[in-house]
Every structure is written in structure tokens, then in C-alpha cells.
Amino acid sequence: MLLFLEQCLNGLQLGLMLFLLAAGLTLIFGIMDLVNLAHGSFYMIGAYFAATFTALTGDFILGAALAIAATVLVGMALEVIAIRRLYGRDHLDHVLGTFGLILFFNELVRLVWGPAGMNVPLPAWLNTHFTILPGVEYPTYRIAIILVTLLVALFMYVLVMRTRIGMLIRAGASNREMVGALGVNINLLYTLVFGLGTGLAGLAGLMQAPILTVQIGMGENILILAFVVIIIGGIGSIRGAFIAAILVGLVDTIGRGFLPDILSLLLPSRSASAISPALSSMLIYLMMAIVLVLRPQGLFPVSNK
């Protein structure tokens, strides 16, 4: 039972992390109608910036703040220089263009930071563990991730639902031409949305950095999961991304944690231990397939889409 609780926390933490990536991805996809495969590159760049700035300033929090700012700047610059040329073109062009950007950023990172990867050491006060319940000790840093991502989710909710910018974002998602016709500077809005999305991806990357270490290509595997999340949640929907991300995180972690035990009740233990790693890594894709069959538009589709 305690183990189950702990695995739920693990799943929640993974899910919230995925939410950060998926929120940016779904905003960019939903509002700008841009398939951005290079989203994972900002996850990587955020992590590399965090490693560099933490080493320079000697302070993890300050390093993280600088890293987010730097990632947002890189994102907005990229939007102005390259991404802008892709609007209004075919989705295939988006995929090709942003896939090219993945290769570009991987090589750029190799040139700047070298191939070996980096570490982000945690400050002592985060690098401990925390007794949630007697017998359940949990790494403090993972709890901090859960809290920070929940705060960010709340911030996103307020931003999108309660502010003027958010209103424009929602309006842009519903009808781009009309918003432009009403005199809103769509170019600026898009640059801001892209910057926001990359900032969230950078935040996700830098928060994972102390757990996973920083390396080239780290954003590519997790990007696949982020796409699964926005497909399940409904493209363009932040609320959908939030719920789907937690769902994916829980299913993945609990699947990994308990599937071997469940299977070994049904099968001889040798074959159970052979099948379960393969099956548990498929679970979320199975879930996506089921959602696509039952609700092709996702669990929480944006209206007018």
C-alpha cells in the first residue's frame, strides 16, 4: 500500500513534468497551427543553460531563473528568424523544417558544450529526502518539482482564462483571421506564445537536469510522450494537456511498477519477467490508441476546432 502511494507520487511527478512540455506544445499547435518537433530541443537547451548558469553563479535557483530567461530569448529569436517562415504552409513543411532544427540544435550544443554531457548538482537543502508518512521517504527535490509544476499550471490557468493576453490567445485559437482583422498584432502574439512555450519546455528540461543529467538529444524521447499527451488531451487544450499528462504519468509509472507482479500471477514467472518490460512500455500507446478510437478529437477538445 505504501509502495502504491510512492509509485503514485512518482507517476504524478512524471505527469506534471510532461504537462510542462505538453502545455507549450499544445499552445503552439492549437493557436499557431504549427507542428513543432523542435520543442524537445528547448527542453535540452534549458537544461544546458541551467548547467552553465548554475556553475557560473554557484546557485541553483538563480541559475534556473537565468536559464528560463535565456531559453525564452532563444525561442523568440528562433520564431522571428525561422519559424515565422513556416506559418501558412503545409504541416509536412512544419515537420521537415522543425526536424531540421532538431539536428541543428543537437550539433550546436555539441559545438558549444561538447559531446560528454553535463551535471547539475543540487543544493544540499534539496538533495535530501522527506518523510511523507512513516515508512514513505521521498526525495525532496521530486516534491519540489511537483509543487513548482502545480504552481505553473495555476499560473497558466490564470494567464489564459483571466488576462487580456489569455483572451487574445483563446481568441487566436478560435479564429486567427478575425483577431488579426480586429487590429491585434498577431505577429507579436505569436512570438509571445512561442516564447512562453519554449520557456515551459526549458523549465521542464532544467528541472529534470539534476535527476537525469544533461545530454545531447535528451528532448527527443520525452517529446514523443508529450505528443501522446496532447493527442489524448485534445490539441490546443491546456486543461486537456494537464489531465492527460497526469494520466500518462500515472499509467506509465504504475504500469512499470506493478505489471510484473500482476503478470506473474497469470503466467510462469520467467515469461512474466520477459513480457512485462515490453508491455509496460507500450501501455501509454495503447491508451492513446483507445482514446483515438473512442474520442478521435481527444478527451477535452477545444470548441470551434
Binding site: 505504501l2 509502495l3 560528454a116 526525495p139 521530486r142 535527476i211 512499470r256 511498477g257 519477467s273
Partner: protein, 390 residues
């Protein structure tokens, strides 16, 4: 007349051209990972292989050596493609390299079918040492079971009663858990295979370790995954409570990034940088002078591969068409291996010692690995019995 002469000499040159080119150089194809997160390993192997060629004066049997490096991207299908290219279009005399067992298994057939001389410098897939063994395939590393079997023996010596096993779900991961199981006499209370190479968060597995509360955890995580595992093991508060034992997780490439987390975590290896033989001293000193870092066991095996190939080429005086003579020479291990002398078994895999290694700080305060003891002497792999070759 002059025109005829010109034409005749042109024809002669054309005819002689390819034949001369074939005899002029020793061509070696080197397949390893040079891109992605594990490129550090491939680069270390290349640096060591190049250092060996420098030590040989970049000649073997009086002929210049040409090495063609190919990147397998850690993917079996890419490795197979690159290997076929080396054999069919570059027509190399030797193939060497290979970090990953799954890449090796995918690439083996074109090499064996074309009877190209092959020296495996790392990947130890048990099948290749066993039923798939072949006269032209040699190894300068080990069969996958051997290193974890050695650490299992050491865990018995330390009186470990219960152990939890974790490793990646691919060919080598399974071998590495089986190898440990083959010698460990305590009880195995849990076993996890994780998705490879993209699962890097081990929170679910570590929670299960905590729940099972074993005496020891044994892991196999090569490359950066090992750094991540040690980090998360410590963040989960398990370091200091449960003793960790490793195979191929702490090496001189991952050590600088693990830092103090690696202290007090034992591992087993067939080569350690402080082994006191002359060939090793020269290799380690020159590598450190050139690259300002300690070489890894991957590098040491690549260095040995170059010297093993050289011994074969020298024995046939550069006539690499005499494959049977080369094979006979290689079976004698007529070169100074940096691990010290070893023998080849019937499957042409080394019969060698395995050492206990631990991380320590050297005179300059740099973390490095130190030989603590010899766990097992002249160990032969279990797969050799499945190899029909004599």
C-alpha cells in the same frame, strides 16, 4: 608508335592500379558510436586505437594502415548497414570496434559470411561466444556473463544474503543479470529490466527497491545511464543504507560526472588503469599526456585490438589473404596486452583475470579507479562450451 605506347602504358597503369592499391595499405573498418549521448565511449575507443597506431608507427608488417571509422548511432540496423558498407564497398581487411551487443548481433552475419577477420573490442553477446562462434571472430574484451559473474562471487565473499537486480532491457542487460545470478548464492528478492536506451528515470524501480529492502542492489548501466542511476539512488536516500554493486557502470568516462557518488561502490573489470605491466604503463601514461584524462576499459580493449591485428599482419608479412595463418597467430596471443598475458579459449574469447575496482582520488585529487583485489583468476566464459569450434 608513340600513341600506341601511351595507350599501352595507360592500360598497364589501369590494370596495375587496383592491384597495387589492394596491397599498399592494411584497411581496418572500425564500427562504434560516434554520435548521441554515448559518443564519449566511441571517441575514447577511437583515441585509444589511434594511440596504438601511433605506437606502431602507423604501419603493420611494413604497410601503412588506413582506418575507416563508421558511426552505428547505437542502432542495430545502422550498425549492420555500416558494416556491410565496410565489407562490400571499402573491402576492409579487418573489422573491429562494437560497443553494443545488440548492434553486434545484427552486424555479425555479413562479417562472418564474407570471412572478414573480426576483432570485437567490447560487445560480449553470449551468443557470439557460444553457438554463433566463428573461426574469424576474436574478442579482446569478454563474454557478457563474465564480469557480472565476478561481482556475484565478490558479493558472496562479502556475505550478501539478499540482492535486487536492475538493468536495461536489451541483449547485454539480460546477459549481465544472468551472469550475476550464475555465481551469487544469496536470494534474489527482485529484478527489474528497464526500457533501453530511453528510460532514464528510475523512480518506480527505486521505490520497489526500498519496499523490498535487500542487503544489496546490483546494477548494470553503461554510459550516462549509470550517472543517472547513481544520482537517483542517492536522491532517493538509499545510498548508505543499501550497498550498491556494479558491472560496467563506473568507468573512467562516467566517473568524472558521478563524482563522490561513486566512492565506495565496487565494480569488477578485466582491466584497470593501474595494472602494473609495462604495456599498460606506456598506454596509460601516453593516453593521459595526449588527452588529459584517464583511458577507460573500452579504450584499453580497442588498444589491444589494434595490437592483436598487428600481430596477425606481422606474422604473414602483410599478406592478409593468408587468413588461416593470421588466425593461428592470433590464437597464440603473441602481443603485449595491457591487461597482462591471457589465453584464448576454443571460442577465441579471452581466458583472463577479473579484478575488483573502486573509485579513489589520485595524487592530483582526480577521481580514478584502483585495483583492490583479484576476484577470479583465468576465468573462462560459460558460453565456450556451446561453441562447436575447436
Amino acid at each position: 608508335m608513340r600513341k600506341t605506347l601511351l595507350a599501352a602504358s595507360a592500360a598497364l597503369m589501369l590494370a596495375a592500379g587496383p592491384a597495387m592499391a589492394q596491397q599498399k595499405t592494411i584497411k581496418i573498418g572500425f564500427v562504434s558510436t560516434f554520435s548521441g549521448p554515448t559518443a564519449v565511449i566511441g571517441n575514447d575507443m577511437r583515441n585509444s586505437f589511434e594511440l596504438a597506431l601511433d605506437h606502431l608507427g602507423r604501419k603493420m608488417g611494413g604497410l601503412p594502415v588506413e582506418v575507416i571509422y563508421e558511426d552505428d548511432q547505437q542502432k542495430p540496423e545502422v550498425g549492420k548497414q555500416k558494416t556491410e558498407k565496410l565489407i562490400e564497398s571499402d573491402k576492409v581487411d579487418f573489422v573491429t570496434g562494437f560497443i553494443w551487443s545488440n548492434v553486434l548481433l545484427a552486424s555479425l552475419k555479413p562479417i562472418v559470411d564474407s570471412k572478414t577477420m573480426f576483432v570485437i573490442a567490447n560487445a560480449g553477446a553470449s551468443q557470439v561466444a557460444g553457438q554463433l562462434c566463428s573461426p574469424y571472430v576474436f574478442s579482446t574484451s569478454w563474454e557478457n556473463d563474465q564480469t557480472p559473474a565476478a561481482i556475484g562471487l565478490y558479493m558472496n565473499q562479502k556475505g550478501v544474503k539478499t540482492a535486487f537486480l536492475i538493468g536495461p532491457n536489451y541483449a547485454a542487460g539480460k546477459d549481465m543479470l544472468n551472469g550475476m545470478r550464475s555465481t551469487f548464492q544469496g536470494k534474489i528478492v527482485g529484478e527489474e529490466l528497464t526500457k533501453w536506451p530511453d528510460q532514464l528515470d528510475f523512480s518506480a524501480e527505486l521505490s520497489k527497491v526500498r519496499a523490498a529492502n535487500p542487503d544489496a542492489v546490483y546494477v548494470f548501466y553503461p554510459g550516462a545511464a549509470g550517472v543517472q542511476f547513481l544520482n537517483q539512488f542517492s536522491q532517493a536516500g538509499l545510498k548508505g543504507k543499501i550497498q550498491l554493486y556494479t558491472a560496467f557502470t563506473i568507468d573512467s568516462l562516467s566517473l568524472p560526472r558521478m563524482g563522490d557518488l561513486a566512492l565506495g561502490v565496487p565494480g569488477a573489470q578485466e582491466w584497470v588503469n593501474d595494472l602494473p605491466n609495462a604495456a599498460n604503463k606506456k598506454f596509460v601514461a601516453d593516453f593521459k599526456a595526449k588527452h588529459k584524462a584517464y583511458p577507460s576499459f573500452y579504450g584499453a580493449q580497442a588498444y589491444d585490438a589494434a595490437n592483436l591485428i598487428n600481430s596477425a599482419v606481422v606474422a604473414v608479412k602483410g599478406d592478409v589473404s593468408k587468413k588461416d595463418d593470421m588466425r593461428a597467430e592470433m590464437r597464440k596471443v603473441n602481443y603485449a596486452s595491457v591487461r597482462g598475458p591471457y589465453k584464448y579459449g576454443n571460442n577465441q574469447y579471452p581466458i583472463q583475470n577479473f579484478y575488483l575496482q573502486e573509485a579513489v582520488k589520485d595524487a592530483d585529487g582526480v577521481l580514478t579507479l584502483k585495483t583492490m583485489a583479484t576476484i577470479v583468476k583465468d576465468d573462462q566464459d560459460k558460453s565456450a562450451a556451446k561453441c562447436q569450434m575447436k
